[in-house]
Amino acid sequence: MNFERVVFGLFIILTLSLNAAFVAHGLEAAAHHNVWILTLAIIANLVAIGLKLGDRSETGALLLASGLVAGALLITARIIWIVTVPSGWGVPEAGAMADIISIARGALVANIIATAILVGDTLLSRR
């Protein structure tokens, strides 16, 4: 058992889970989505990216790339949330909410790819 793999796997899968939790249900209904989950997903994602820095293998490069894509999209979604809610503690209106959720769903795809690469690499090396 490799401790680095445990930690990295934890953060990648945590990012995926939080991302999935955030985008679940209606596209425009603000009540279905929690800004805290989005924020935690961004943090987990940034940690996963940080852990992959310095990996020279091909799979490492792909994981870093998919992590960067997911991070960029999640942060974009969070920025839209901030911009459309000037007062700080409201919820965005329906159009803005739809933008946020569709971008976060894009990030979900990148996270699924990252998890698939991680699982596939582990199964192939079987150690």
Partner: protein
């Protein structure tokens, strides 16, 4: 320049052939269209209408081509209809005349030949994959093409016999194999076949005529001095000429056949290994033929017979010769050859009863097969080796009761294939032939452990940044990489991958059967033999620095900066120490 000459000729033939039909068409069209415009049309609102030029052309087009849409765009007057009748007959006749001329041209043999040559040259020119030029598509040529196709290597084929090129057209090769019916001895055909093409790897001459082979080899050598030329030659005189040229390998079918025969008789373990490498059907590694010791009878004392006799004689194997003596050559055997057809009486005279084996090596398959029938009656226990001359008779030889069939076109094709695909393999076999048999047996035992019952898969890897980036980087950092470590299974550290490293080529020198702890260097070419699945596993080791580090040390180091820092800070705690000791390879 030469590549466009065919196209120029095609264009020239086309123009010369089509000149008159085209002029006839032009004349008829002009006359018909002008006449149609001049004919007064129907009277509309007191005005006589006329067809305009465009509509006249449109009308004549569908009339001459016998399509016939009717009276377009408006109904015709009677004058126009009169003219239409004229147009119909002249236009249709001119049109058919032109079409007929065109069909006649397409069937013209010179035109077909020019088009084939042009298409062939274009196909070769546009091909970017590595390929081999194959001159001669006889038995050996087609067997070699099949072997190349199995290895996904392209070939460009030239043969003077149109029937052979037609036969090529109905083969189901896995890669494109363009063929041209042409004399490969003509330089322009060699150029069309891509002698100067950067992707051309080698030129193989396999025509039945030694002089032609020599001519092609010399031409190719002049056109492209860097090109590897493999030349089939059975005459010693030519062999001398060719040996003097560098980059030219002479392949003598008779010598190969004789050498193989000697291996069968005296080095059966080596023959078994060789046959297993080339994928001969029905060969199991480690179960060589059981060949009895003693005197051998050789039927046929032509050029091949002489070779076989000399080869066996030099290695101290007694040979008695039976030959009808047509060739009337002076024989240098001790004990006169039995001068007769190899039938019952001749075989008894040669002492078939107490011989260890018989080689039926005459140049006619029917003679060899009839000799075999006599042998089977007289002494069925004798070891029977038969020479097969023609690939067409394969079915009969399969059905015949023999111990071994040797087909010289097949042995030649296999030898050339080895030279093209992995020359190291042939070097290894030759190297083993000069060593004691126990070396071969040791290698066979190793391969049996590694490969088991699967068919062998041979591949070579060059330690350069393209094919083995991780290894070359490690070597440039003064690291040590050994064959034993490379062949270790990264999925289960204590075990070896199902493959063996057979040879290393370094700066023109070959190192055969390197030890497990032999230090490799950048630029080495390594030859592996294993199961098919071992190649991608080994690829991972060659490409991935972490996998490489793991098979070398058994330690999986931290990868990211964060964990590297942790590991440096807190030592061994977050490393996984499955094992740090080197396991001996079993």
């Amino acid at each position: 320049m030469t590549t466009t000459s065919d196209l120029d000729r095609v264009g020239m033939i086309l123009l010369r052939y089509m000149r008159r039909p085209l002029f006839v068409l032009l004349f008829v069209y002009s006359l018909g269209i002008i006449g149609m415009v001049l004919m007064p049309g129907r009277v509309v609102d007191g005005e006589t209408t006329h067809m305009d030029l465009f509509h006249a052309f449109y009308f004549f087009t569908y009339t001459a081509t016998t399509t016939g849409f009717g009276e377009l765009p408006n109904g015709f007057s009677d004058e126009q209809r009169l003219w239409t009748i004229f147009c119909l007959y002249t236009g249709a006749i001119a049109w058919f005349y032109a079409i007929g001329s065109l069909i006649n041209l397409v069937q013209n043999p010179h035109f077909i030949q020019s088009m084939d040559g042009f298409r062939f040259a274009r196909k070769v020119r546009r091909n970017a994959e590595p390929f081999v030029i194959l001159c001669g598509f006889g038995d050996a040529g087609s067997l070699l093409a099949r072997g190349l196709s199995d290895h996904r290597m392209r070939a460009v084929i030239l043969d003077v016999d149109p029937e052979r090129i037609k036969a090529l057209g109905v083969r189901d090769y896995t890669v494109a194999m363009p063929g041209l019916c042409a004399d490969a001895g003509a330089p322009k055909h060699l150029l069309a076949a891509g002698v100067e093409h950067p992707a051309c790897r080698a030129l193989v001459t396999l025509t039945n005529d030694d002089d032609t082979n020599l001519k092609i080899a010399v031409m190719a050598r002049h056109l492209n001095p860097r090109l590897q030329v493999i030349c089939r030659s059975t005459s010693t005189r030519h062999g001398g000429t060719l040996q003097a040229l560098d980059n030219v390998t002479v392949v003598d079918p008779f010598a190969i056949f004789a050498q193989l025969l000697y291996w069968v008789i005296a080095r059966s373990e080596l023959h078994n290994l060789n046959a297993w490498f080339v994928g001969a059907p029905g060969v199991t590694l480690g179960s060589p033929l059981r060949v009895p010791q003693g005197e051998w009878i050789l039927c046929g004392f032509g050029r091949m017979g002489h070779r076989i006799h000399r080869c066996l004689h030099d290695h101290g194997i007694g040979v008695r010769v039976i030959d009808p003596g047509e060739e009337g050559e002076a024989t240098e055997t001790e004990g006169d050859p039995v001068l007769a057809q190899a039938d019952h009486s001749a075989l008894e005279a040669a002492g078939i009863g107490d011989a260890a084996g018989i080689v039926a090596a005459m140049n006619r398959d029917a003679d060899n097969l009839s000799t075999l029938l006599s042998v089977n009656e007289l002494n069925p226990d004798v070891f029977r080796i038969v020479r097969q001359n023609s690939h067409e008779n394969q079915v009969v030889f399969d059905a015949a009761r023999t111990d071994l069939v040797l087909q010289h076109s097949l042995t030649t094709a296999r030898r050339i294939l080895k030279l093209l695909i992995s020359p190291l393999i042939q070097e290894l076999i030759d190297w083993l032939a000069q060593r004691e048999p126990n070396q071969t047996e040791a290698l066979v035992a190793r391969l049996q452990v590694a490969v088991g019952d699967e068919p062998p898969h041979l591949w070579s890897v060059r330690l350069n940044p393209d094919e083995a980036p991780a290894v070359t980087r490690l070597l440039s950092e003064e690291g040590v990489v050994t064959p034993g470590a490379l062949c270790r299974d990264a999925r289960a550290f204590s075990q070896a991958l199902p493959c063996e490293m057979l040879a290393i080529r370094r700066e023109g020198q070959s190192i055969m059967l390197p030890d497990a702890d032999f230090p490799l260097a950048a630029g080495d070419e390594l030859l592996f033999c294993g199961v098919q699945a071992a190649e991608p596993m080994l690829q991972a080791t060659l490409h991935n620095p972490y996998t490489l580090h793991y098979v070398l040390t058994g330690v999986d180091p931290p990868r990211g900066y964060v964990f590297t820092w942790f590991a440096d800070r807190f030592g061994e705690r977050c490393r996984d120490n499955t094992s740090n000791s080197r396991h001996p390879r079993t």
